[in-house]
């Protein structure tokens, strides 16, 4: 079922006129399937292609109706199943039983938009804070979110221990191992973990709602600040979605400069994680070495963009700043120095005895589970799922640049970390190729401030996995709806599954192999 046509023929043969299929919109096609048909369409797609999974579920306020769009990725083509629900009683059938990966997506749409998924109801709040009044849904157009009257925080129920020998340990919001506030209550029977319940929402800043009240120009800066580590990829995802509607003629040189910015960011993000993994398993020295060798990369980012972390290079219509030629030798020398250090680090991650002791066979995720939970990025590629968006749906200038896709099959923490280690090498190759073959010409093209009516989706390969954006525009200079689905949001369910049955002492090591970024998860 490799291309779109076969899938569309299959669906037409199966459902006939009960569904309409608009080809070509939103990538391969948009399938309008109302009153419960979305469940059967998804079921048919899953049976047809093993690699089918839900990328994201977008909730929309369409006036008197609430739209629930299921964005489904298959082996190659990308579909969207559009279901609409009356605002009066927003009920819709859950798809968690045929695709467990949809659990988090559905809970979030319930919390922010008020659509009730029959079979997967949400107690309390998922992303919003405890003192947010029930029944008020921020993403609805009629709610002015800033003037919502907050209820006092409900009495925190004393963490009642589970029955028998089970003890509930809270890895609390403020914890030295976690760089960001996140709460995991881990129920432990002796040393073995039996249940992990996450509580996200500590870093929820309501970016999707704010993006609706700011101009596209300001949104690029707002959207970048979803996550400080992988900010250019967020800017690029938003910008490429808007450019799919606007269709400006982005110059070739700008695409190459964008690839350089993205790969420099992937380099520093992977080095950061490889070092942070050392800190988690008590290997201070590894952390110090990695982060010392990461500093020259940060200086490169500052050299090319003016700020160590927020380069803000990518904007609608091209790139804000050209790469002046004197910097190129410096870029090449820094990358060359780093390439000389690679053998030491690779040998360390492959063979260091204590590191293997802490990482081998920890948090094993089988290939079937990876597909069922539709995990993304190094977590998927560590379990044998060859899904790298730069290869499956190449964007920007990636189709002209040769690089290898790294896939390991062991599926444990050690494999995931080694995927990132090899991708560091690939990123260096990509940057050097892009710098050598940099086309000449302008770096930017003028773009009107307001965007015509339309909607578009785009998924790109962030350092942590596939990042998905959906933008709907209404002709003004402010977007109608911006949906952001970040890679960690899709990867956390895999941690909840792999942590069960392993010792509590493995939780930090398994957790850091996920490369979690909670400011991404909560938006």
């Amino acid at each position: 079922m490799s291309n779109a046509a076969d899938m569309i023929n299959l669906l037409e043969s199966k459902f006939g006129d009960r569904i309409q299929i608009k080809q070509g919109t939103l990538e391969a096609g948009a399938i309008i399937a109302n009153n419960g048909l979305h469940y059967d369409v998804l079921k048919a797609m899953i049976e047809a292609d093993e690699k089918t999974g839900i990328t994201a579920i977008t909730g929309l306020d369409l006036g008197d109706k609430l739209g629930v769009y299921y964005h489904v990725h298959t082996a190659k083509p990308f579909f969207t199943i559009k279901a609409e629900v009356p605002k009066a009683d927003p009920k819709i059938k859950t798809v968690v039983d045929i695709h467990p990966g949809a659990l988090f997506h559905e809970l979030e749409v319930t919390d922010l938009l008020g659509v009730v998924f029959v079979g997967n109801e949400l107690q309390g709040h998922f992303v919003l804070s405890e003192n947010w009044p029930d029944g008020v849904y921020p993403l609805r157009k009629d709610v002015d979110a800033t003037k919502v009257q907050l209820v006092p925080t409900p009495e925190r129920e004393a963490n009642k221990n589970a029955e028998g020998r089970q003890v509930k340990i809270i890895i609390g919001p403020q914890h030295p191992a976690l760089l960001e506030p996140e709460k995991f209550s881990v129920t432990v029977d002796g040393e073995i973990v039996t249940k992990v319940e996450p509580r996200i929402g500590y870093v929820h800043r309501g970016i999707e709602k704010t993006a609706e009240s700011r101009s596209y120009l300001k949104d690029t800066y707002l959207v970048e600040r979803v996550c400080g580590i992988c900010n250019p990829i967020h800017a690029y995802a938003f910008v490429s979605t808007v450019e799919k509607i606007l269709k400006p003629a982005v110059p070739e040189r700008a695409e190459y400069l964008r690839v350089i910015a993205l790969e420099l960011n992937r380099l520093h993000s992977h080095l950061l994680t490889l070092g942070h993994a050392g800190l988690e398993i008590g290997y201070e020295t590894l952390f110090q070495y990695f982060w010392r060798d990461r500093e020259p990369i940060m200086d490169l980012i500052e050299l090319t963009s003016g700020n160590r972390v927020y380069g803000s290079l990518i904007t609608v219509g091209g790139v804000r700043r050209d790469l002046n030629p004197e910097h190129i030798p410096k870029i090449k020398s820094v990358l060359e120095d780093f390439r000389k250090k690679m053998p030491f680090y690779r040998k360390l991650y492959q063979e260091e005895p204590t590191l293997r002791l802490r990482m081998k066979d920890v948090g094993v995720l089988t290939r079937e589970d990876a597909l069922k939970l539709s995990v993304v990025g190094p977590v998927a590629r560590g379990s044998g799922v060859d899904m790298d968006i730069r290869k499956t749906q190449p964007y920007s200038a990636y189709d002209e640049i040769p690089f290898k896709q790294i896939v390991y099959t062991e599926g444990d923490t050690w494999a995931r970390m080694n995927v990132r280690m090899d991708e560091v090498e690939e990123s260096i190759n990509i940057i050097e190729y892009a710098v050598d073959h940099l086309p000449s010409g302008p770096v930017r093209v003028e773009v009107p401030r307001s965007v015509p009516e339309g909607e578009a989706v785009s998924s790109v390969e962030a350092p942590r996995g596939e990042l998905f954006y959906y933008v709907k525009s209404n002709g003004t200079d402010m977007p109608e709806r911006v949906k952001i689905r970040t890679p960690t949001f899709a990867n956390i369910p895999s941690f909840l599954k792999t942590a069960i049955g392993e010792s509590i002492a493995d939780v930090p090591s398994n957790f850091v192999s996920l490369d979690p970024c909670f400011s991404c998860t909560d938006r």
């Binding site: 300001k218 800066y221 600040r225 070495y289 010392r292 500052e302 003016g306 219509g317 005895p353």
Partner: protein, 151 residues
């Protein structure tokens, strides 16, 4: 797993040699407060606001946006206020004229204002030691250096 001394392991991990060699190499620490770092030329630090440029009448359109400035000819055009993502720029009265006041507490140093200002009144500098113990010092109040400029 064998617990005996690491040296006896078959695969001696490369970190042992590297750790000893670090004892004799110079530490990679920069002595910051005593030795200031050498920054690239156009690194984005504190903004510099030239109030006299803000008065200039002749201006061209910004390089990338069609600015419908005609209606705002002569008076302060407030383009920077409109385009600041953090809402850090407010308009204050300075000797009868409305001029932008940049609040560095809010500013995210994205330099969008530097780009969109048609008169180039806001310039780049790479000064970054802005830390302070009182918040008021971070608000850049626009004022005229002398009477002549105010005219």
């Amino acid at each position: 797993m064998a617990e005996q001394k690491k040296k006896g392991k078959s695969r001696i991990s490369p970190i042992f040699k590297r750790a000893v060699s670090h004892l004799f190499t110079k530490p990679a620490t920069t002595k910051y407060p005593f030795v200031k770092p050498q920054l690239p030329a156009d690194s984005r630090g504190k903004l510099v606001y030239e109030i006299k440029d803000c008065n200039a009448i002749d201006f061209g359109c910004g390089p990338d946006f069609r600015l419908d400035i005609k209606a705002l000819r002569g008076s302060n055009c407030q383009v920077c206020v409109r385009d600041c993502p953090a809402g850090a720029i407010q308009i204050v009265e300075v000797e009868g004229k409305k001029r932008p006041q940049i609040d560095l507490n809010k500013c995210v140093f994205c330099y969008q204002c530097v780009e969109t200002c048609p008169r180039g009144a806001i310039k780049q500098s790479d000064f970054y030691e802005l830390a302070t113990t009182d918040k008021g010092a971070l608000v850049m109040k626009p004022e005229y250096k002398n009477k002549k400029e105010a005219s």
